[in-house]
Chain length 335, copies 2
């Protein structure tokens, strides 16, 4: 592509939205015009990107009347439900961070290191997967390709930034011991673990747990992988940790898997336990890779393996992944 | 038993030791004489139990020359290795909270709700299981009895009190943001998750993870149960949470399991997700039961079930369990 695209960031003032801007800046993402959009409540604010000030405009049905090539959405499912189709009708490609479109058959769900080919069949909307799914896909994909995955048991340790600024407030207020009412959670999160992310469904699972199950199938293109999940919120600001137990279809040598992971783009192996090296949320925060460690055979099942997987849920789990999708789109935009 | 026993608490000034005293007091545990013992460093301190002051004496090879019926030890593996046999030789029954004796064939490993019968064949030392194992045994035992357990995958969320006062200091200092050097952990625990409890072994597992595997076999008297574990430290002061994934041998109805749990002594079912009721570390802290919730079928495997299990690791996971063992011993002491 020779010309630079026009870019919109929808939900620009939120936790993910502001990280979109940071990541666009860090990666020197090329654009001709940048439009920042948000709800009426946040419109009028001024944000600085690459040294230039932008006034946040209110998102309306006419926001996409102007020519916009790519829009990065992170403004909640309701906003995406209404405005992503409007943007797409105007020829804009939406990369949407909400869960609204993820399971639609005509919407690709993409982790660029895992299934970049799915970008090609988009119809104007590409979904960014759930944060806890994205990071798990990066080590699972090479395992699926080389050995085949039979079953996965996820247990997650998810940071409060995944609930946006309200989650951050709840942890800050809790740690300060003040009496501020809870904004994001049903129970205090400071000094506590909440086995409750997103709403509960009739089958006893949370929506977050079902996202991990369904999105794993869709991204790896294999509905036969057996998956279960327990997702929990922990008193950490940024960075999701995951205990992942996997049954592979074929036998493996542990060294081969470590070598495979070392050669997987976007994945960093941190596994030197004798020197206390393993992935940590605090170290992952503010960085883009997915980290994997505690790689060890699970002796309780044939071809079993345990992993500890960590990533910054706002970066690789949201903003960075979306910008990486946008980078792939750049290569394909018409002149 | 008509006469009241003489009791010793070894390691009386530690986090578990001081909880021994609190639990003895709360349960109005009967004793004639109470002896508090600790290392030379802590000897001389005065502690109050049931309104009476006791001076902590130094633990020596002669501490058990006086008649003591039951000694509750929580002073570390090295101290137990040296002094528990001395106490036992003097006719005292030791209930030991360290990992030192747990896997010895002639030492019963006991959760009183689960395998009280094992107390009978003690030879002077009874081991208190690892905190994270104890709480898991309480829901697993009725499942094992009714359906048979094929496989268990544990992922834990363990509180810093499990590392004693040093763990508590590390979290306090971290939350205060001061520069105090770490006392218990290899990395900061505030705002972080550490997939590292106890030392690493050659097979890539931590000793804590192998404790959960081996102790599950010993307490449930079934080495054929397949078990794997990933144990992690979380920034919570008191109360371990556990994500437990179980494959049963026989088919089950979910309602039957919930009913079974409701009728299990020491177990409290907290499972009303539509009203945000599930076990929480913050609620469990300071209480004695084991709590279970998020009880739901795991559709990824035949006869699978997921549980969320929480208990106060210092109480049911240590002090309360030991005092419950001592209560069983009371019934059997000679006149």
């Amino acid at each position: 592509m020779k010309r630079k695209p026009n870019i919109a960031v929808v939900g620009a003032t939120g936790v993910v939205g502001s990280t979109f801007l940071k990541v666009l800046e860090e990666r020197d993402f090329p654009y001709e015009n940048l439009y920042l959009m948000a709800s009426a409540k946040s419109a009028g604010k001024t944000l600085t990107v690459k040294g230039k000030d932008y006034v946040v405009e209110e998102l309306t049905e006419h926001s996409f009347d102007k020519p916009i090539d790519i829009a990065l959405f992170s403004a909640g499912g309701g906003t995406s439900a209404k405005f992503a189709p409007i943007a797409a009708e105007h020829g804009c490609i939406v990369v949407d961070n909400s869960s609204q479109w993820r399971m639609y058959d005509d919407v690709p769900l993409v982790v660029p290191e895992v299934n970049p080919e799915d970008i090609d069949w988009n119809h104007g909307i590409i979904a960014n997967p759930n944060c806890s799914t994205i990071q798990a896909m990066v080590p699972l994909k090479p395992l699926q390709d080389k050995y085949g995955i039979k079953r996965v048991v996820y247990s997650t340790y998810q940071a409060v930034a995944g609930s946006g600024i309200k989650g951050i407030h709840d942890l800050e207020n809790g740690l300060e011991g003040n009496d501020a009412p809870l904004e994001a959670y049903a129970h205090p999160i400071a000094n506590n673990i909440l086995p409750h992310i997103d709403v509960f469904l009739e089958n006893g699972y949370t929506k977050e747990e079902m996202k991990m199950i369904n999105e794993t199938h869709k991204i790896l293109h294999d509905d036969d992988i057996k998956v279960t999940a327990t997702t929990a919120r922990v008193p950490v600001f940024y960075g999701h940790s995951e205990s992942i137990n996997i049954e592979l279809k074929k036998p493996f040598e542990l060294e081969d898997i470590i070598e495979l992971f070392k050669n997987t783009p976007g994945l960093v192996v941190q596994d030197d336990v004798q020197n206390n090296v393993y992935p940590l949320a605090l170290d992952a925060a503010g960085t883009d890779p997915v980290y994997v460690g505690r790689i060890r055979r699970d002796f309780s099942v044939e071809n079993g393996i345990n992993l500890w997987c960590v990533a910054d849920n706002i970066r690789k789990g949201a903003a960075t992944n979306a910008v990486q999708i946008a980078e792939k789109l750049l290569e394909k935009l018409p002149d």
